[in-house]
């Protein structure tokens, strides 16, 4: 179920037959959404008790929002690919890294625009870099799906092994092409620094990341819920064989979703590298751990759950990163354990066949 809050009507559910009772709407499940403000308020309470100023909490919350959006952009492709194709792509991290490296390579000749102190030029340069990253990772994704994943549809064990192998090869190829040393990924001039309101500092790049993440999330919701393509994808998640029987080429749908997922990973990788301002070949494997936690929390295959999970994980990471930095990653594991105790399939389990 891509959008968890909304019921998923069968095709043609909107137009009712004469006299037929309206199809009952599935009851909305908003309980998990409450976790988000719950966690924020809880963190605020602990921080006030510890004597941390309120403005720090606001800064951390905004940072969490930005980080959550970036993780969502990366994770949404992975969770959709799993939902539709039943493929768990451990090589997803490779697309993150390749996307970031492609963006870096694009930004080098555009250095003039990046260093200019003008927001439009900066955004243009970043936009171009992101476009190149998405096109590049999308194309690699297509090849990856055709060559690596196609022969192992339906075999989970082999999928995990093969995609892990693909990840290793891709990381090594990055070393060969771009070299193994750490690369700087400077932010454009106009996006450096922070906007200060009162004593609350809002970093400009984080605001941009939040905006991009929201745009992607809304675009995804619109495509999935309001277009024919989205209808087919949602139907494919629930019952792929039926979609095929109705005469749609599900393999094409697979390829399309895989390419879109890879491109999103490339975009997310670019954002992540800009956020960190440095770039190494292992950037993918660093983020992928958080991404896995996110899609497990959200429920494998659920876009809404993925969004919620990304925000939860980012909040947890930022708050504990401030309060007790040594256990930041462990706190996310505890969050996952807690949520799996409550809902063993994740927040929004996907009904499947």
């Amino acid at each position: 179920m891509p959008n968890a809050g909304e019921p998923v009507p069968a095709s043609g559910g909107e137009e009712q037959l004469d006299g037929a009772a309206p199809i009952p709407r599935a009851p909305g499940d908003y309980l998990p959404v409450l976790l988000l403000p719950g966690l924020a308020v809880g963190a605020l309470a602990i921080m006030t008790w510890q004597g941390v100023p309120f403005s720090t909490w606001v800064t951390l919350t905004i940072a969490a929002l930005a980080m959550g959006m970036m993780i969502f952009v990366i994770a949404s492709g992975l969770t959709l690919v799993f939902g539709l194709m039943d493929v768990l792509n451990f090589g997803h991290g490779a697309f993150i890294a390749v996307g970031a490296y492609l963006a870096m390579t694009t930004l080098i000749p555009l250095a003039g625009w990046v260093e200019a102190n003008s927001l439009p030029l900066n955004l243009l340069a970043l936009g171009l870099a992101m476009l190149v990253a998405m096109l590049g990772t999308g194309a690699i994704g297509l090849a990856f799906e055709r060559v690596i994943i196609m022969p192992v549809y339906g075999q989970h064990l082999k999928q995990i092994l093969i995609t892990t192998g693909g990840l290793i090869v891709a990381e090594q190829l990055i070393h060969v092409v771009w070299g193994g040393d750490q690369k700087p990924m400077p932010l454009p001039t106009a996006l450096r620094g922070a906007i200060v309101i009162g004593n609350i500092a809002l970093e400009k790049f984080r605001l941009l990341a939040v905006a991009i993440g929201l745009i992607i999330f809304l675009a995804m919701l619109v495509v999935l819920n309001r277009s024919k393509l989205g209808l087919l994808i949602r139907a494919g998640v629930e019952n792929g064989e039926m979609v095929e029987a109705l005469g749609y080429r599900i393999r094409r749908l697979f390829a399309l979703v895989f390419v879109a997922g890879s491109a999103l990973a490339g975009l997310g990788g670019t954002l992540w590298a800009l956020y960190r301002e440095t770039l190494t070949a292992s950037i993918g494997s660093e983020v992928i751990v958080l991404v896995f936690i996110v899609i497990i929390i959200g429920g494998l295959g659920s876009v809404g759950g993925c969004f919620l999970g990304a925000l939860l994980v980012a909040q947890m990471a930022n708050y504990t990163g401030y309060l007790a930095p040594k256990v930041a990653i462990a706190s996310n594991i505890l969050l996952m354990v807690g949520i799996l105790m409550w809902r063993p399939q994740g927040l929004y389990p996907v009904a499947k066949r």
Binding site: H156, I160, T164, N332
Partner: protein, 355 residues
């Protein structure tokens, strides 16, 4: 007699038997045959990895679940023994205590991970183990005043195993030092653990695991609690990995993230299992031996090749010894596609069709 020792699971191929016999003989006589430190180190590493890979094969090859936390348990063993010896001084009781703590923690962790991931969907397991293992590695580096951080800890082993200790002087072979004794400790423990693993997979319990691998739905329909069996397999594999880590720490007299916890060791283990042959214990012996040998000697070969191809830019880059993981990755993908049964599967093929 031999059948009883090998749990009635014979190699079933003449070539395989010959190769296995050669490996076991070479490992058994390694300190007497090869004088150099590097050769003995390689032999000890092979012994440790045979145990590690065999325990991993119990999960991957026999139960059909992918774990990325095997290095975590391996590291737990290493840190258990290492930190105990570092903190409480060098004695055998300390080794035992450290190992016991590590095994209990390892089994408890394996049980919890299994409970949370295998209860719902086996596919969760791969992701959750990856997350937990990376969290463990980060924590081991973070709590540096306890674990030594990135540098790890060097420690003294019990006197019997120190290089300075001499047991006897023999006429032809020379001195039997603590190093030789340490090697034989590793070797004997590895043989016993391997035979135990062989015993486990050929027991009724092991048959149920294989049934779950082939068709978990049917196994459940026959009345086996698949979750329980999978968790049990996970715990056994974890305990064996902890023991392998302990042996490794005793041999190296050092424990640190790079030798035990790093993801590249996990990749090595995966490669060894797949190259040797998933679902055959003998594959662990072959895979570990070949891989460790290749790691030690192939990298030198690649360095020479890269030097020879210095004029050609891309080729020299690709042949650089640091890029050897690239070739292993390609080999790994190809072998999963084309030789899922690995070397042992290939060797067994003709006899299997004949009988």
């Amino acid at each position: 007699m031999l059948r009883a020792i090998l749990s009635d699971d014979l190699p079933r191929s003449r070539l395989l038997s010959a190769v296995l016999l050669a490996i076991v003989l070479l490992l058994a006589l390694a300190p007497l045959l090869f004088g150099g430190a590097q050769a003995i180190n390689t032999a000890a590493k092979i012994c440790v990895f045979i145990v590690l890979v065999a325990s991993y094969d119990l999960l991957l090859g026999y139960t059909g679940i992918v774990s990325f936390a095997h290095t975590m348990f391996y590291g737990l063993g290493g840190y258990g023994v290492g930190l105990a010896l570092y903190g409480w001084g060098a004695s055998w009781t300390v080794v035992g205590t450290g190992l016991a703590i590590a095994i209990i923690t390892g089994i408890a962790l394996a049980f919890l991970i299994g409970l949370f991931s295998l209860r719902v969907r086996a596919i969760f397991f791969a992701m959750i183990t990856l997350a937990v293992a990376s969290a463990f590695a980060i924590m081991a580096a973070q709590f540096s005043e306890f674990t030594g951080g990135e540098d790890g800890r060097s420690f003294r082993v019990p006197e019997l195993l120190r290089p300075a200790y001499t047991l006897t002087e023999l006429p032809i072979i020379g001195a039997i030092t603590g190093r030789t004794l340490a090697y034989y400790l590793v070797f004997v423990a590895a043989v016993l653990l391997f035979l135990a693993a062989l015993r486990i997979v050929n027991s009724p319990f092991g048959r149920v695991l294989q049934a779950i691998r082939e068709n978990d739905f049917r196994a459940e329909a026959l009345g086996y609690r698949t979750v329980g069996y999978r968790i049990a397999a996970n715990c056994i594999a974890a305990a064996m990995a902890v023991l392998a880590g302990g042996l490794n720490a005793l041999w190296l007299r050092y424990t640190g993230p790079d030798t035990t916890l790093s993801f590249s060791i996990m990749v090595d283990i995966l490669l060894m299992v797949v190259i040797g042959g998933m679902g055959t214990m003998y594959g662990a012996v072959l895979g570990a031996s070949l891989f460790v040998l290749a790691q030690n000697y192939l990298q030198k070969l690649m360095a020479t090749a890269a030097q020879a191809a210095e004029a050609v830019p891309v080729i020299a880059q690709v042949l650089h010894p640091d890029r050897w993981l690239l070739w292993l990755g390609i080999l790994f993908v190809l072998s999963v596609y084309f030789f899922p049964a690995g070397i042992v599967g290939k060797l067994r093929q003709p006899t299997a069709s004949g009988s």
